[in-house]
Symmetry: C2
Subunit: 340 residues, 2 copies
DNA sequence: CAATTTTTGGCAATCGCTTGCCGACCAGTT
DNA sequence: AACTGGTCGGCAAGCGATTGCCAAAAATTG
């Protein structure tokens, strides 16, 4: 290397510094770095070497401005507080990082307005969106799916690819489990009214219990937080049901606590089935029987689908729907029905 | 408004569109939007109205390119999996959003290399960094603190403002609690060797137990995960101690499970004190006595300190250190020492 | 060996916004 | 009436990349 020695003047190096040191034009540097085939091997290697030597990192700002791509994906979740979304975030984070993308995390606070606003405000700064458990209406969803690349998680949409966690089918399984334990009066403890998952879960519950001729109750809606568990527990206990299928584990865990306080024994007096198998479901007291979901994987799959949409490399149209399997995990919170 | 009617040709509007419609130069639009005092009230209002009407959102890319500021903060955590960091993230997320900043979340996987890499790669795309429980060496930390605005959480640094959660002082309190229950043989269950917090906690433990003339043991290091709890429990049980102070709740919860499996009763045979009071500490079995920390608040404070550093508005130098108070929360995992 | 095609690298126009600088305009002072 | 100082808005130069277009060079072909 008999090149010029640029005495790196403190300032972070730009593509021009690299170009000068390597004795080429900036366009060549640009190509060498992001479109390697477009430039001769030896030139490319020289450039790469200079870039490394200079510790050059392209400005994502500038790159984004000129190319229109930001290499960032916004992930919108209703509540960063909720362990369920932690797992989603973990999954997306992982997969995005692997693909060289940045994750823009947004908490929409269970609000459709905030969701819309984020979608709108970030449309320039993100190449695509992942909406977990969107609270948008079908129309809103369809509209934004048309406007930007996006994929939804646990929320079917006409226009956007979707990954759904197939909790409903495991609800059927749970009901079978409960029936086998002698339960016939079952209560569905509902989650947020605007939640698509909640509707699906209820539907599965309703269909299957009708089929089986079970006596059913429904209480709710409740916020998906442990703190709502007390109200949920009281309501459920009041119905006279001997078992509950609860919208999610957070709520179920809250119920467990309240039931214990009230002297209602779980599972002797009341069986509880949660959904999601979040962190904590295995060590609460009693450990929660729940519908285990590959949440993190759902996050990963969502990213893959989104990236496939953004970079339609090889053949065939990309998947429009991914259904993640679930299964019932039986722990201590379900047991034989109390004989009257 | 007898202005021109621009038939918004699908394309997302730029500052130029706003300028034309409002009949001013782009520079005026720019000022009206981000430096309101610099432009006459009526002009400003007209511009704002046009901008709203056009649904104009400035491109953060372009803005960043020309101004050098990105309005984004990178938050680096060792492990997005860990509930402790969830709380941090929640705090930063909240505060950043309130200030109009975007959060760039990065999982450094407990690795100093990844941390350095992220710091380097993102220096252009983030205005500042928040490092939670950094794994960097003091030298590395000092260097990067000199290079970019940053604040650390639970990691003192010469150059960067820091927010520390004062767990050590509550460790003293825990020891007092254990002593009052008759414990004299106490085991410290250590976390990651590279963790600054771990060192501080051990130090506090060591000093106080020596002072009190207690018999101490130390086991570890263990990874801060529930899955490491089994090994930790076995090691701790083997020491003959009647009580443990555990590096964090995750590990403590894991120990609880293992101890139960082994038939070691908590707290009858062994008392356990955790650290952090994470999600789950209150509903595990038995509920965990732990050192409660205002984790989310720590995240918020970190953001405030960072923003203060970035926008040194009013008087005085900004805080260099924030100490978050902690307290012992007694639940079911500690009890009287077994009499030999 | 001339003609043609393929590689390779440079030029220069953008991308959308910010900001230093300047001039116009408008009081308020001498 | 000339001067001074402050407001307000426009001009135009960037910011740091990407990329369409083109020409020189190299490789291939007839």
């Amino acid at each position: 290397m008999a090149g010029v020695e640029l005495p790196s003047p403190d300032r972070t190096p730009t593509i021009r510094d690299v170009a000068e040191l390597a004795g080429v034009a900036t366009s060549t540097v640009s190509r060498a770095l992001s479109n390697p085939d477009r430039v001769n091997r030896v030139t490319r290697e020289r450039i790469q070497q200079v870039a490394a030597q200079l510790n050059y990192v392209p400005s994502s700002q500038a790159r984004g401005l000129s190319s229109g791509r930001t290499q960032a994906i916004a992930v919108l979740v209703p509540d960063v507080t909720n362990p369920f979304y932690f797992d989603i975030i973990r999954g997306t984070q992982h997969q995005l990082k692997a693909a060289g993308y940045t994750q823009l995390l947004v908490d929409t606070e269970e609000s459709a307005e905030m969701e819309e606003e984020a979608l709108h405000k970030m449309r320039r700064s993100a190449d695509g969106f992942i909406l977990a458990a969107s609270r948008l209406t079908d129309a809103q969803l369809a509209e934004s799916a048309a406007a930007h690349p996006m994929v939804t998680i646990n929320r079917a949409s006409a226009n956007a690819p979707t990954v759904v966690i197939d909790t409903p089918s495991a609800i059927v399984q749970s009901l079978e489990h409960l029936a086998s334990l002698g339960h016939s009066k079952i209560c569905f403890v509902g989650g947020p009214a605007s939640s698509w998952s909640n509707a699906k879960r209820w539907k599965a519950f309703e269909d299957e219990t009708r089929e089986r001729g079970m006596t059913t109750f429904r209480v709710g809606p409740f916020a998906p937080k442990t703190t709502s568990g007390a109200a949920a527990a009281d309501a459920a206990a009041h119905t006279g049901a001997t078992a509950c299928i609860v919208f999610n584990d957070l709520l179920a865990i809250g119920m467990l606590q309240r039931l214990r306080e009230r002297g209602v024994r779980v599972p002797e007096d009341m069986s509880i089935v949660g959904c999601d198998d979040i962190f904590g479901a295995d060590f609460c007291n009693p450990p929660l029987t729940t519908i285990a979901s590959p949440i993190e994987q759902a996050g990963r799959v969502a990213v893959s689908m989104l990236l496939a949409q953004l970079n339609p490399l090889q053949g065939g149209p990309s998947r429009r729907l991914a259904v993640m399997p679930t299964h019932l995990t039986i722990r201590g919170s379900t047991g034989p029905a109390r004989v009257p």
